[in-house]
């Protein structure tokens, strides 16, 4: 389940679903605005999937230097095709968020390193945060938004989750994938420990972890940190 690339028909299904739900990214983009995103910056998106966030960001900030990285070669291929169709200039790379391999040229260069709805799949969550903090320049920020284990949902959150799971018209494969992602997701405490470990290696001036349902309708955990100025 964990840290396996999403390939083949699974990747196609993610893209079909994601590209039809671009409005669901609005509040995540608001968070990036809050974190200081500005046109002209370098932004790295780890586990970018089929590139929906890149399409949105490059529409809103046409001069971003935007690099999407994903563990799935199928996702990278789909993302490149999607950006070409949309006439956007985005770089997509194959890469593992838990390693710097293939991203050495970006170390310390990004104004913002983001990841959306992916880090719950990592086998080594601290390594994911370590990569984010390695890529960001001093004074830049990292922002992750990902799933929480069902154990961390209180009853209203669990009811919302249930309604989401049972209320919509799901592709059956996606419904199972979504529910399993929550079943295997880290606990809130795991996110705290992972970020704390990464921050131990690359000092930050701010850090914050919180849970809300902004931008999705189901509770997700947000992990923000700003790398200490040089």
């Amino acid at each position: 389940m964990k840290t396996e690339p999403i390939t083949g028909s699974g990747a196609e299904a993610f893209h079909r679903m994601g590209s039809r739900a671009l409005h669901k990214y609005d509040e995540f983009v608001d968070l990036l605005v809050g974190a200081g995103i500005e046109d002209g910056q370098t932004v790295v998106d780890l586990c970018c999937g089929s590139g929906e966030l890149e399409i949105i960001l490059s529409s809103r900030f046409p001069s971003l230097n935007l690099i999407g990285v994903d563990l799935s070669e199928d996702m990278v291929r789909i993302a490149r095709g999607y950006a070409a169709e949309e006439g956007k200039t985005v770089e997509f790379r194959y890469g593992d968020a838990q390693l710097l391999a293939g991203m050495e040229d970006l170390v310390g260069k990004a104004d913002l390193v983001v990841s959306r709805h992916a880090f719950h799949r990592l086998t080594r969550l601290p390594a994911g945060f370590a990569t984010m903090l390695s890529l960001v320049k001093p004074g830049g920020a990292i922002l992750n938004c990902s799933f929480l284990h069902l154990s961390d949902f209180d009853e209203p959150e669990f009811r919302t989750w249930l309604q989401f799971l049972t209320g919509g018209r799901w592709d059956p494969e996606m419904q199972v994938a979504w529910a399993l992602a929550h079943h295997h997701a880290p606990r809130l405490q795991d996110y705290h420990e992972a970020l704390a470990q990464a921050v131990g290696e690359t000092p930050v001036s701010e850090q914050r972890i919180w849970v809300d349902n902004q931008g999705y309708g189901v509770s997700t955990v947000k992990c923000f940190a700003r790398r200490a100025a040089a």
Copy 2:
């Protein structure tokens, strides 16, 4: 959620569902046979709900002295009506499985004390096991079958749970109730600790806790113990 009686339309819905699925009790009855149930014995069923198990047991063992106990006056009323319709002689009482109040006359009198699909709702699980062991006579047995927290499901078990949740034609209220019951259910470790605590007060000659999907299709925890002979 926990240890609140199931009342009104909820109780009616449980009865509708339970009385249409009597075959789902077969493997639980097999467990009671394995535990030594015989016609003529005294059997207490804690949290008996609308009395489905009583209908089944009194059909198969016509001379059982059968007492069903439930925290919901609505359930007790429904169970009495159901047994009357079916022409069965069963005693139903209002009572809390976590207290002996109203069951004082049964202390040390039962050959078998059982509970099915209810103990996951208890606030004080050790008190539930303590009641079971108080009611059973020396040499008699207790057997509980109830839900596990979703955290204790491995991936195949979670997939089965998901299929059960999303695959059937549910009354929407029951679908939510069923999923929430799993969300609030104790962990396997909690069952172990609760039984160990009760056994510390009333010694047993055998005890066993295991998880399987017998009799239900979704994993449940079974807790068995035999009170030490006098």
